[in-house]
């Protein structure tokens, strides 16, 4: 399978990339790591006239600390984010989710920003990003704007990044001292999540002081399990209390039905996986 012909440009700065996108109009596709885009182009589900490759823009790569935030450049690969001590220390749930993305070869090429903008509801980075209250830095010809996680994911494969704009970085409020776990349910190796749960909690003296839960593939976008979060705060970090709090994990969700499972099956999975994720995040 070979993609349809396209023009190719590989700018070396964000400014050049924005110019290339503006020139191409709506017939351009942005190439990040390409691990989702290239299969789409090969199967000819999309045939852009121009591909703008961000792979040569060094300023978009790397993880750095900025006060009480972690800043991850949009073109940072999964593997590089996974290797970052700052990510495992200050965003444990993201670190846990990155380990579960696809396979090592894909993690060497695929990027955190590319996955977030692609916004596949079964992707593994959206739910932890949502749970961590990530801010999305979007750059366009008019400059930079920041979008809250709750506003970033808009629908199936749709985000707040508009035509002619680029996601350049994400800013994650440091969750230092929080436990984190990503419980992914799949039938075979290196596949998309049927359902997965990103849980991050802060335990204080045996009690859950703060909790954030993101759900993967329980709707057209990553979702917060707000009822579970509310029930967890103040609960004891025990198996029984956590089980009870997680019973409401499917509340307010709208999971898909497909060959991997019906919507009802996913609704049944969500509380089970949430309990496992929270228990692990709480160190149980």
């Amino acid at each position: 399978m070979i993609p349809a012909s396209f023009d190719y440009v590989a700018p070396t700065s964000v400014a050049e990339a924005l110019t290339a996108l503006a020139e191409a109009g709506d017939d351009a596709k942005v190439l990040a790591g390409g691990q989702s885009l290239l299969p789409i182009l090969r199967m000819r589900l999309n045939a852009p006239e121009k591909v703008v490759d961000l792979g040569r823009i060094e300023e978009l790569r790397g993880v750095r600390e900025d006060g009480d935030h972690l800043v991850i450049g949009a073109m940072t690969t999964y593997a590089d984010a996974l290797a970052s001590a700052a990510v495992s220390e200050h965003a444990a749930v993201l670190h846990a989710a990155l380990k579960e993305v696809a396979d090592p070869q894909i993690r060497h090429r695929g990027t955190v920003g590319g996955a977030l903008v692609h916004a596949d509801p079964a992707g593994d980075v959206g739910a932890p990003a949502l749970a961590l209250g990530t801010e999305f830095v979007i750059t366009g010809s008019g400059g930079e704007r920041t979008v809250a996680a709750s506003d970033f994911f808009q629908d199936l494969f749709e985000t707040a990044v508009a035509e002619g704009e680029l996601l350049t970085a994400i800013r994650i409020p440091k969750h230092t001292g929080w436990g984190g776990h990503y419980e992914k349910f799949v039938r075979v190796a290196h596949q998309w999540s049927i359902v997965a749960v990103a849980a991050t909690v802060r335990v204080d003296g045996g009690t859950i002081a703060e909790a954030a839960i993101g759900l993967t593939n329980m709707g057209s976008t990553p979702l917060r399990a707000t009822a579970v979060e509310a029930a967890l705060v103040g609960a004891s970090a025990s198996d029984e209390a956590i089980r009870e709090a997680c019973a409401a994990a499917a509340e307010g969700t709208d999971p898909p039905s497909d060959l991997n499972g019906s919507a009802d099956y996913r609704r049944a999975l969500a509380p089970v996986l949430t309990r496992r994720a929270v228990l692990a995040a709480a160190g149980g």
Binding site: I2, P3, D7, Y8, G34, P39, R42, Q105, H108
Partner: protein, 160 residues
Amino acid sequence: MTRITVTVDGTSYSDEVEPRMLLVHYLREVVGKTGTVIGCDTSNCGACTVHLDGRSVKSCNVLAVQADGHEVTTIEGLSQNGELHPMQQAFHECHALQCGYCTPGMIMQAIDVLNDNPDPSEEEIRVGLEGNLCRCTGYHNIVRAVQQVAGQGETSGARS
């Protein structure tokens, strides 16, 4: 057409390619490295795994133009002075193949696994190879071969 310069198995190549050309097609059809095979063509099976700047990638899921200025190592670049790479030797000795189609990618990924973690557990080897499918399901001997190399303390490819 776009001009690219890529180092493949230690030799520099400069060619005009269509931007849509996949790296695996460039390696096989332009450079002639047919040791790298196409398995599933959907980025699932890992048969086309090569090293790009020392890290494993599925070469059906990379454009040749993305490799411009970079270094590729294929299965054909592993042996040195007529001597098989230790991982190739171990696959031979452990009979880590049945039909052999997955072998080039399996060996390239096995080397990456040990570069990342020179002393992996059996579980870590199996997880490290999860992106490589053997449809003969001969995984047991493949894992044994990787364990044999890890036991020898041979941890890295000659150029990878």
